[in-house]
Amino acid sequence: MKNRIIFIIALVAVLALSSYAFARGQGQNGPNAQAASGQASIPFPPGWKPCPRCQNNEDRRQDTIKYKVPGHAFDPHDLTGVWGYDGIGRAFSKPPEFTPLGKQQHEATFGEKTPDGSPTYSKDTSGRGPGSKINCDPMGWPRLYTYNYGFEFITLPDRVIQFFEMTHTFRTIWTDGRKLPEDPPEPRWLGWNVGRWEGNIFVVESNGYDERSWLDASRPADGGWTHSPDMRVVERYRRVDYSTLESEVTVIDPKTYKQPWATQKAVTKLVPGAEIGEEFCVPSDYSSFNDDYSTISGSKKK
C-alpha cells in the first residue's frame, strides 16, 4: 500500500514536471536557442530597439534593470507595450469531441507522408507546420497568437490595435461600443473584433472568420484543427503587473466542436527594450526555403 502511494505521488510529480517543462519548452524555445549560442547578440544602432526575438536572455535581463521593471507603476486598463517573443504554442492540443462535420473536416487535414512514413503538413493552408510547403497564406486567428514572435498593443480612444511581429500584420479591436455583426459581409483571417473591460479584464469577442485557417500549428500526426465560418472567439487579457500579461482564448464553434475549446491561462512578459520589426512572410524567400527543404528532406529527386 505504501509503495502504491509513493508511486502515485511520483507519477503525479513526473507528469506535472513534464507538462511544465513541455509548456516552458513551447514558450521559451526561441530564446533558449539564442542563449544557447553563447555569443552576444548583434547590437542595434543607438536609439533603435531590436525586435522581440532579436534579443537574447541576457539583453532582457539588462533591460529589466534599465527600464526599472520590478515595482514599476502600471494602469491595469492600459495594455500598451511590446509583449513576449513567443506565443502560447500547442495551446490547442486536445480537442473537444468533434461534430460529424468537424470530424470530416479534420480527417481531410492529414497530408502526405514522407518516404519513411512520417506524416507531413502538406495540407496546411499557411504552410508552417513540419514538412509543409510555405505559401505565405495568413495564419488566421487564433493561430497567429499561438505562434507569434511578439506583439504590441496600442491603445487609442476608440480601439486597440494589436501589431504582430510574425508576418508583420495587425488587427483592430474596436472599443467604441459597437456590436459584432450578426452576419459579417465578408470573412476575415483575423476576424471582426470588439473589446470591452470587465473589471480589470480586457474581453475581446470576435466572429466572421475565414474558414481556411487552422486554430494552431498542431502536429502532423494529429492533423489540423479546423473551424467553420461560424466560429466565435472570446479572449481575456489581464495585466497582472507592469510586465506580466495573462491571457485565455476560448473557441466556440458548435458546427465543428461539441463544446467550447478553451486554452489554459498563458503568461506573456513585457519586452521593454524591444520594438516590432519586420518578420514578413516573403514569398520568394519561402519559395527558396521550400526548395532547400525539399532537397534536404529528399522528397525531390535531384
Binding site: 508511486f7 513541455f22 536557442a33 544557447a36 504554442g89 529528399g298
Partner: protein
C-alpha cells in the same frame, strides 16, 4: 513488490514518452533529412542566404579526391540569428569556416548548424558545447 516493479516500469515508460514528446515539439519546419549525429566539416563560404524562415549558408568543401562539393548549412530565423550573434554580414563569400552540425542522411552535403568557427573564433554556437545550439533551435 511486484506492483512496485511494474509501477517503476510504467513510470520509466511515461518519462520516455514525455521525453519523446519534447523532442517532437522542437521540430518546426521539419528536420527530416538530417542525422542525429554531429559531425565537423571545413569549407569556404560562397553565399549567405539571409532569408525567412531560416538562414542558409552555401559553402564549398573539397572531398578526399580534391573535388569541390557544394554544401548547404541551415541555421534558424534571421531574428533568432541576430540574437545568437550573427548578422547578414558576419560571414562573407571566401571566408574559411568550420561547421559542426547534424549532417544530411547518407552523406548528403547538408548540415544543420550547431556551431560555426572562423579563424579559430566561434561565430555561432559553442563548438565545445556539442548539441546545445542545434538542439534548441527551430
Amino acid at each position: 513488490m511486484k506492483i512496485w516493479r511494474r509501477s517503476t516500469g510504467s513510470l520509466l515508460a511515461l518519462v520516455l514518452a514525455f521525453a519523446l514528446l519534447g523532442s517532437v515539439a522542437l521540430a518546426h519546419h521539419g528536420r527530416a533529412g538530417y542525422s542525429n549525429e554531429i559531425s565537423t566539416v571545413k569549407g569556404t563560404v560562397t553565399e549567405v542566404q539571409w532569408k525567412n524562415p531560416h538562414v542558409f549558408i552555401a559553402f564549398d568543401v573539397k572531398d578526399d579526391k580534391g573535388n569541390v562539393v557544394h554544401w548547404l548549412a541551415e541555421l534558424s530565423s534571421p531574428a533568432t540569428m541576430l540574437a545568437a550573434g550573427m548578422s547578414r554580414t558576419t560571414l562573407k563569400s571566401g571566408d574559411e569556416i568550420v561547421i559542426k552540425g547534424k549532417a544530411g542522411l547518407e552523406s548528403a552535403p547538408f548540415t544543420l548548424v550547431d556551431s560555426i568557427t572562423k579563424d579559430g573564433k566561434a561565430i555561432v554556437g559553442d563548438p565545445n558545447a556539442e548539441g546545445r545550439f542545434v538542439n534548441s533551435t527551430r
